[in-house]
């Protein structure tokens, strides 16, 4: 019984971690075709902004988290304008030499990976130069709950609730709002969407801002539980990638499903054999999943659905 509770909590913890780590990356990848290898560093921005505004400015933690999210979203807009869309360099180019200097990185997967890796190097090292090797952390709120001989951090349970709320929120944004509709139109057929009057440039910018904001939120939420080092983003990156790729083309459902599946695998193996084998099992499961479902879980579901429709 107690072990069952342990397993359930372990699962919730893995699920929350994977979903929160992957959400921002999944949106940017799914809609813009940009692989953001600096995703971990966007989480870093959120975590640092939250921690600094809590410790230096004395804001309450919830307000500090909001600041962290907004700062990262704003940072995302800057990155999008300067690097991903190249709008600012191209504007400078038009003013000075009369031609565009750079091509947008949209749908150039490999190039976007390499470019954002450059950005990530700059950000990690920049953070180290500016803030040193670590900064003070804020304490984990809410204390612990005890059951049997064990106790568990309440905050981690709150996090799993937040991750579910986040999935619902993102689902709402992409299915019920006007932005979500135009964004999905842009994914399906950019040319047609533009011909019908959708400002795709703006959709991309908003998408990158939302994706960055979610990364910032992840950093903000995990800030009380992590040690604040410039390399803290690394621990999110692999899980985020694995979840996005295993999830497949449908952003929200894919992230939820892969969070569930991978979280379950990780929780079981961690529970049985320890953290190390939990991680290895997660990675191995991802490789096997990609081998047999190259389009991810939701790609597989879509294929099954379309086969059924043809059969009728």
């Amino acid at each position: 019984m107690v072990n069952g509770i342990n397993l359930a909590l372990q699962f919730l913890d893995s699920f929350a971690f994977i979903v929160l780590a992957a959400a921002g990356l999944a949106i940017i990848f799914g809609i813009m075709g940009v692989i953001n290898l600096a995703h971990g560093e966007f989480i870093l921005v959120g975590a640092y902004a939250t921690t600094l505004s809590a410790t230096k400015l004395g804001l309450p933690l919830a307000a500090a988290m909001l600041v962290g999210t907004l700062v990262t979203a704003a940072f995302g807009v800057v990155v999008e304008r300067f690097i991903i869309s190249g709008a600012v360099p191209n504007w400078i180019g038009q003013e000075t030499v009369g031609r565009n200097l750079v091509e947008p990185l949209y749908d150039r997967l490999a190039d976007s990976m390499v470019a954002t890796f450059g950005l990530s190097l700059i950000m990690v090292q920049g953070a180290r130069v500016v803030f040193g090797n670590s900064i003070d952390t804020v304490g984990t709120p809410f204390g612990n709950i005890a059951y049997g001989a064990f106790s568990y951090s309440t905050y981690r349970i709150v996090l799993s609730g937040v991750s579910i709320a986040l999935l619902v929120g993102v689902y709402y944004i992409f299915t019920k709002t006007e932005y979500g509709m135009t964004a999905r139109a842009t994914i399906q057929d950019e040319e047609t969407a533009r011909a019908l009057g959708v400002d795709t440039e703006r959709i991309y910018m908003a998408t990158f801002a939302i994706g960055s904001g979610l990364a910032g939120l992840t950093g903000a939420l995990f800030a009380p539980t992590l040690s604040m080092q410039p390399t803290l983003g690394d621990q999110f990156l692999v899980e985020a990638f694995v979840a996005v790729v295993v999830g497949g083309p449908s952003v929200v459902l894919g992230t939820a499903l892969s969070g569930g599946v991978l979280g379950a695998i990780q929780a079981v193996f961690t529970n049985l054999y320890g953290t190390f084998f939990g991680r290895i099992a997660l990675l191995a499961a991802a490789m096997v999943a990609l081998r047999f479902l190259p389009d991810g879980i939701t790609g597989f579901i879509e294929a099954v659905q379309s086969r059924r429709q043809e059969g009728q």
């Binding site: 692989i35 690097i83 190249g86 360099p89 200097l101 750079v102 091509e103 990185l105 997967l109 490999a110 190039d111 990976m113 390499v114 470019a115 890796f117 450059g118 950005l119 990530s120 190097l121 700059i122 950000m123 990690v124 090292q125 920049g126 180290r128 130069v129 690394d234 990156l237 692999v238 990638f241 694995v242 790729v245 190390f276 991680r279 290895i280 990675l283 191995a284 991802a286 490789m287 990609l290 081998r291 047999f292 190259p294």
Partner: protein, 383 residues
């Protein structure tokens, strides 16, 4: 090398040999290029007289790793973040075998085992991916994950249960007891590490030359020429066709999966060779070769130099590693990141092809019988 006689036309032996190394898939098909190439090789041969050959040999070894990615990514279009997997496998295999069989013959066999280990790793991973229908960016992600798996795995091998024969894998502490590199069997062997040979050179007096540097140089030049011959062969044209349009190439009757697998294995073996030399040169190997930063370095070299250029991979590897080592300190990584970002944004095809194009544009049209290519010593003299 047998290619060093640029002759003017005719079907002499030298011209036929040279034709094997030339074609649309490599830059530098002119007389001027080969002259520049010979000058560059001569400069590298003479380099230990003036510079730090022991440090420079590291750059030569890593250039092999850069070349392995260039042929896999630049020519076949498979972006692998996992070249360091095969690099590390090669290094660790070499370490394990040579520690268990520390005789000259054993060490020579360990070198071969390392190369085979890299190739075998690539064969397993490549078969798993390419014959499973994994394509494009998903290959990249799987190779990235494979790197992470090995890093996680090797980092926890500190315990005594992780020993193979007499070789302890050592977890984060790595494997420090690798014997010095000897090639040959029994008495007919030669030690390449810490065995500087005094040579009398006119003008310099007696200098001690590091044999390992020359071993690395010979292997690098040989590999470069070999890959040039490969990418300009019929098989190389099929590789480039796979890069340009996989589906169309398949429609023309080529076995795309097999081409990708073969090139991936070749790249793995080459990375394995690089790893063997790396472990032999440092007399040490540890799991840092599987870190994300190290995994990305080959991608940086090849992107900056020009992924569709073998020469670009070599020049960029040497230049970037030189900058990284000499600059050191906190700002080296920032510079490296900025270089990477700037190159991808402004010169997506890399620096060397850009220099090549500039050099060709700035010359008057060739008015002689040298052919359409104009002499272009710029790229070769940069190294």
């Amino acid at each position: 090398m047998a290619t060093d006689a640029p002759t003017d036309g005719g079907q002499s032996l030298a011209a036929r040999v040279r034709a094997r190394f030339e074609g649309p898939n490599t830059i530098g098909n002119s007389n001027g290029f080969w002259v520049g190439f010979l000058v560059a090789v001569a400069a590298l041969v003479a380099f230990p007289l003036v510079g730090n050959a022991e440090q420079f040999s590291l750059f030569l070894v890593l250039s092999l790793l850069g070349l392995s990615l260039s042929v896999v990514w630049g020519y076949t279009g498979v972006l692998s973040f996992g070249q360091v997997v095969f690099f590390g496998l090669g290094g660790y295999t070499f370490a394990v075998v040579s520690i268990n069989f520390a005789t000259p013959g054993g060490i020579t066999a360990a070198v071969l085992a390392g190369v085979v280990g890299g190739g075998l790793g690539a064969a397993v991973l490549g078969y798993f991916m390419f014959y499973g229908g994994v394509r494009d960016v998903y290959v990249t992600i799987i190779t990235l994950v494979a790197t992470m798996v090995l890093h996680t795995f090797m980092a926890q091998t500190a315990g005594s249960e992780w020993t193979i024969g007499e070789a302890a894998l050592g977890g984060f502490n790595g494997m420090p007891d690798i014997p010095l590199l000897k090639l040959g069997v029994g008495a007919a062997s030669f030690q390449f590490m810490y065995n500087a040979i005094p040579v009398w050179v006119p003008g310099f007096g007696t200098v001690e030359l590091d044999p390992f540097y020359y071993l690395a140089l010979v292997l690098l030049v040989g590999t470069y020429l070999g890959l040039r011959a490969l990418v300009n062969s019929d098989y190389g044209r099929a590789m480039v066709a796979v890069r340009e349009d996989e589906d169309r190439t398949r429609m023309f009757g080529y076995n795309v999966k097999r081409i990708k697998l073969v090139v991936f294995i070749l790249g793995g073996a080459l990375a394995g060779l690089s790893g063997v030399l790396y472990a032999a040169r440092n007399v040490f190997i540890d799991p840092t070769v599987f870190t994300l930063l190290f995994a990305t370095l080959p991608v940086i070299w090849v992107s900056v130099g020009g992924r569709k250029s073998l020469l670009g991979a070599i020049i960029a590897t040497i230049a970037i590693e030189y900058i990284r080592v000499t600059l050191g300190g906190e700002l080296a990584l920032v510079m490296l990141g900025a270089l990477l970002l700037g190159t991808i944004l402004f010169l997506p095809n890399g620096i060397v092809p850009w220099v090549h194009r500039l050099a060709r544009q700035n010359r008057p049209a060739p008015a002689d019988a040298e052919g359409p290519e104009t002499p272009d010593p710029t790229e070769a003299s940069e190294s």
